[in-house]
């Protein structure tokens, strides 16, 4: 694969913090970013003066209703008077902003970087979905008045058809993730539900039903990255970023295989190669795949080469992906259970790995002293895969 990894420094995650994910926050977007940033700094005893640069992620400006939203948020993210950069790859932003923070440190430029992701979707009326209406090609598709659900419905149906899957096979993801979220103090939609509940919920765009989908949310998450020397001064439990990967597919969804996320596989292969991982299924102990929809978790587990194509639903039914299973998937509760403030949701997955690998995940703790975890997010025009592998 065509990337160089010589001359890069080791990078560790040394702190993390997050706000509650809620339907409607009274706090401004800046105030949400501040709370998460402050919590992350406090978690490792750093002051803002110890931070060399700030990387910030937020998805469409239209959600917060502020053009140049990243720059608007920068004060709340402690970026005042510092080198600052905003990442924006739609839903993939949360993990991509960690990748961006990683190369700020790996390059040797900075010893400590604050990575902050924020989203306030409640300010967007009548529904945040409207912000996405213009992502479609303006001459060949938009005259049909498509919305985001069309993509997910067509993708989910293609996936089900190709592998002969039923709605029931997929609904188990929603049941698992909402149940896992019961143990997350910041969760918005934790619940004990059944497969039947999912199958009986309102149909949005067949085969997508209400409980197949994550909510809209407000929230912020922050993590602190440090160089090896700095990390060892800050904490005796650094969690290393072993590798990163990202990849983009065609801008046209008509030109992609809707049953399989090829771009996720490419991003994963980049990360596996960089980390020296030969057998992902054995060497990854926890995975936090992006789960805005229940079928997407399965889709992504296959793209990440953690399940054979079309077989993630079978492994799910066998309990492999349960918190105490062989390969716990989304032990946090994910977007389906904790909530989906877009960019912040992706970063929440990285924060979850940080807590899990340090043995600090409380009631969510995966048993068996996991040593390596993978977080993945997905977005842009539903065509980007972003991956980070963390380890102790």
């Amino acid at each position: 694969m065509a990337f160089r990894r010589t001359g890069l420094r080791r990078v560790a995650v040394v702190g993390a913090g997050m706000t509650k994910f809620v339907r409607r926050a009274q706090e401004t977007a800046q105030e949400l970013a501040f709370h998460a940033s402050r919590l992350a700094l406090d978690s490792c005893g750093l002051r803002i003066q110890d931070i060399g640069a700030v990387c910030l992620g937020t998805a469409p400006d239209a959600f917060d209703g502020v053009h140049m939203n990243g720059e608007y948020l920068s004060d709340g993210a402690g970026a005042y008077g510092k080198p600052f950069m905003r990442a924006y790859v739609g839903g993939g932003t949360g993990v991509f902003s960690v990748i961006q923070g990683w190369y700020h440190v790996a390059s040797g430029l900075f010893d400590a970087v604050l990575v902050v992701c924020e989203e306030k979707m409640s300010s967007c009326l009548p529904h945040p979905q409207a912000a996405f209406l213009t992502i479609f090609d303006h001459t060949t598709e938009r005259p049909l008045k498509p919305n985001l659900l069309w993509i997910f419905a067509l993708e989910m149906n293609r996936y089900m058809q190709k592998y002969g899957l039923s709605k029931k096979d997929i609904a188990r993801v929603a049941v698992k993730n909402k149940r896992n979220a019961m143990d997350h103090p910041a969760a918005q939609l934790a619940a004990e539900i059944t497969v039947e509940d999912v199958l009986n919920s309102e149909v949005l765009a067949w085969p997508v039903q209400r409980l197949d989908v994550s909510p809209t949310s407000d929230g912020a998450v922050a993590v602190i990255l440090a160089s090896e020397d700095a990390a060892k001064r800050i904490t005796d439990k650094p969690v290393w970023i072993k590798s990163v990967g990202w990849c983009l597919d065609s801008a046209y969804w008509t030109n992609r295989d809707l049953s399989y996320p090829e771009y996720v596989e490419r991003a994963a292969r980049m990360a596996y190669e960089m980390a020296g991982i030969k057998e992902p299924r054995k060497e990854i102990h926890i995975v936090e795949p992006y789960d805005p929809f229940d079928y997407k978790e399965l889709h992504h587990l296959e793209g990440l080469l953690l399940a054979p194509k079309g077989e993630a639903p079978r492994l799910l039914a066998e309990g492999v992906f349960d918190r105490d299973g062989d390969l716990p998937a989304t032990p946090s509760g994910g977007l389906l259970g904790v909530g989906n403030p877009i960019a912040a949701a992706g970063l929440m997955k990285v924060a979850e790995l940080f807590w899990q690998l340090r043995g600090e995940a409380g009631k969510r703790q995966v048993p068996g002293n996991p040593r390596t975890g993978l977080a993945q997010a997905w977005g842009d025009l539903m065509q980007v895969g972003t991956v980070a592998i963390l380890g102790v």
């Binding site: 009274q26 105030e31 005042y80 300010s123 009548p126």
Partner: protein, 158 residues
Amino acid sequence: MPLDKLSHPQQARAWFDNIPIQNQYTVGIAGEVFFRGLMDGKLLAAHCQECGRTFLPPTLYCGNCFSTSGEWREIVPHGVIDTFTVVHLDLEDNRLEQPELIALVRFEGCEGGLIHRLGEIDAAQVEVGMPVEVVFRPPQEREGSILDIAHVRPLTKS
């Protein structure tokens, strides 16, 4: 055919659409205090107990030491013109019959300041460094908005 080569731009096939969204902005935790203050005819600033700086408009956090500001202080609504402009065009590029005076006003002891309209003065008489005071709308017209301040005007000696 590139658009700039067409003799009649309407020959290029095109259509129009928009992004149909509106936004509802909460004023936030610090904003709730600030705008309630305006309704009471008061300017409230946030004071950082760690570094002693005072911020107007107030923020929940101190931009300097990144701690929660923590304390509220009522500011005497007298300031100084830091800079100003005379606006002759509206947002649609129409010439304004009555040009609008806009100033950045700073307040003693505060970081930041307020951008607002200057009133009760002719453009020719405005000077940088001029002392000004905040004029609030009558209490029954206030609604918790920055426009609860009607304008600033030259400080009347009293």
